[in-house]
Amino acid sequence: MARKGRLRELPLVSLEAVAAIGVATGTVALLEGVAPVTGLGVVYLLAVLLVASRHGEIAALATAVASVLTLNFFFIEPRHHLTISDSRNVAALGVFLIAGMVVSRLAAAVRQRAGESELRAHEAAARERESSLLAAVASSLLSEGPVEAQLSTPGGRLTDAVSRAGLRLELAPTPAPHEGEETVPLQLRSRRAWLYAMPDSGWHREELDRVAEPLAHLVDVAIDREEVAEHTAEAEAARRADVAKTAVLHAISHDLRSPLTAITTATGALSSGPLSEDDRRELLSVLRSESTRLARLVDDLLDLSRIEAGAVNPRPDWCDLHDTVASAAEHVRREHPEHQVELLVSADLPLVRADPAQMERVFSNLIENAVKFSPEDRPVRVSASVAGERVTVRVTDEGRGIPPTARSHVFEPFFRGRAGGAGSGLGLTISKGFVEANGARIQLDSRPGAGTSFAVSFPLVPQPAAPA
């Protein structure tokens, strides 16, 4: 290939050499009168030098030989013959020829070195482009989101880095190059990916092959990292679920044992010997109230497990919140006759779609909670309003309020406030479960020292036609 190139250049080189020799001959002819001809031979060296620097050693040697012949033919006695009469001139021409060879050797070496360094510079530029591509891809793959999403995000950091280099990177089972693009497969461990070079990107095939391997490693590492992160997150979630389950079991065991212990001790006490009438009455009331507490706890636990299993199955119907709230309030009043519950719910409140029995449980729980957490002389208020396409019922107490740190926990199972030790610790969890299963929302608003308000809100729906 190199030889063929040089052959093709032959006429041009010859022409240049002839021209250079011609110019040198003209110059020597002009200067012949002022300097000895053998000294002027140096001018021909300039021609040799010129050819050597442009075309290498062989062309320069040829030029040197041609120069010697020309010098001899035109300027050395006898002129216009290729013979030499004076032996000193033979020596001079010999020296000139050697000088020409040395010059052409040196010039050629310089020229070769220049060529090499140009090649090196070119290679360095290519390597730099490759490594800056890899660096950009690495930093993006390892610091941003999921690999797949990054590769398919136009304008994302990764796609940007790759396309700035005139390339495209794709995770796909089969290659799909655009018109004129060169395709290089990436050898990934578990997926298939392709690197495409745009036609004018300036990447050579061997460069592409060279970057394909580290690029594949990078994508592999990023995919691995992603999988490990997913597994870690799953393991962490499982661990947390375990901790929560243990806490719930712990709480259940404690909560079932307390009423059971009260019942067994009261039973033991009833048969332990002589009892006053007061003792007997008190022990029987312990038995009654603790049995009720136990039964209620069991009901609550059943509800909780239904909620957690997603098996609440509400039966939505037209629900009159005025009626439902009144019934719930009556329920609580029977248990806590000492506490005042004010109802501020208008009878013409729009109907909502919800399971009325479950909503009664919700409002009983909320009102009872409010009663338990506020002083007896502070009434609990239940109010209702329609605003922003929602019907909202609010249960408000004037108790101590819930501290900010506890607010996010009040709906968790077995979370208890300071004063409400007797409850199952499940009322709010169950209320929230029922509310959400019915497509409604529950919200907490509390100011320490000023009281707490729970708001249950339902979407406002078109009302059914009034009966004829």
Binding site: H250, H254, L260, A269
Partner: protein, 229 residues
């Protein structure tokens, strides 16, 4: 035995206190009650009781902390009520100085029996040179062990182990406490030592080593030397 002994009952459940008060009164005790850790410590200091029945879960702290506090100035017998079902909590309370525990829910006879046992031990303490349970007599001063009047030979380790249990007769002694007193503080996790040596002692002193009546196991917690039931 229980004549007029004063018992302090500490539990935050008023319904449980109501029943316990009647049960203990009818068993012949005088009963004081407390509902929190602070009340319990105040009551114990103001009118030192003869024994304490202590719930492990209190609103202002743990029964374990009450045990630890009380033990700084008194050796009064303490029975903890554990609703936790968690062996670790029980062991902590016993290591902190409790004498025994009953698990909620418990029968009233169980509680009064345990109470009688710890009170008797408290009354006997310090006065005995020899401890007798059933047919077994341990002569602490002479380092001799007699079964139905005949001397049996125990290795020094076996005797030390039996001595610790005898000194705390009727009390549930935790693994940790036994290992600490017999082998030393650096051996408190080597519970397998106990299993081996207890088996040897049983073979020598029990009528039927496979159904021990005197040296009984409380699984996961410790051992107790007691009168056969």
């Amino acid at each position: 035995m229980s004549n007029g002994a004063r018992v302090l009952v500490v539990d935050d459940e008023p319904q449980i206190l109501r029943g316990l008060r009647v049960v203990l009164r009818n068993a012949g005790y005088q009963v004081d009650v407390a509902a929190t850790k602070a009340e319990a410590l105040d009551a114990a200091a103001a009118r030192p009781p003869d024994a304490m029945v202590l719930d492990l879960v209190l609103p202002d702290g743990s029964g374990v902390e009450v045990c630890r506090e009380v033990r700084r100035w008194s050796g009064l017998p303490i029975i903890v009520l554990s609703a936790v079902g968690d062996v670790r909590e029980k062991v902590k309370a016993l290591d902190a100085g409790a004498d025994d525990y009953v698990t909620k829910p418990f029968g009233s006879e169980e509680l009064t029996a345990r109470l009688r046992a710890v009170l008797r031990r408290a009354a006997d303490a310090d006065t005995e040179a020899a401890v007798t349970v059933g047919d077994l007599t341990i002569d602490l001063a002479a380092r001799r062990v007699l079964v139905r009047g005949e001397e049996v030979h125990l290795t020094p380790i076996e005797f030390d182990l039996l001595r610790v249990l005898a000194v705390h007769r009727g009390k549930l002694v935790t693994h940790r406490q036994l290992l600490h007193e017999v082998w030393g503080p650096q051996y408190t996790d080597e519970t397998h030592y106990l299993r081996v040596h207890v088996a040897h002692i049983r073979a020598k002193v029990e009528a039927d080593a496979s159904r021990p009546q005197l040296l009984v196991t409380d699984p996961g917690v410790g051992y107790r030397l007691q009168d056969p039931s």
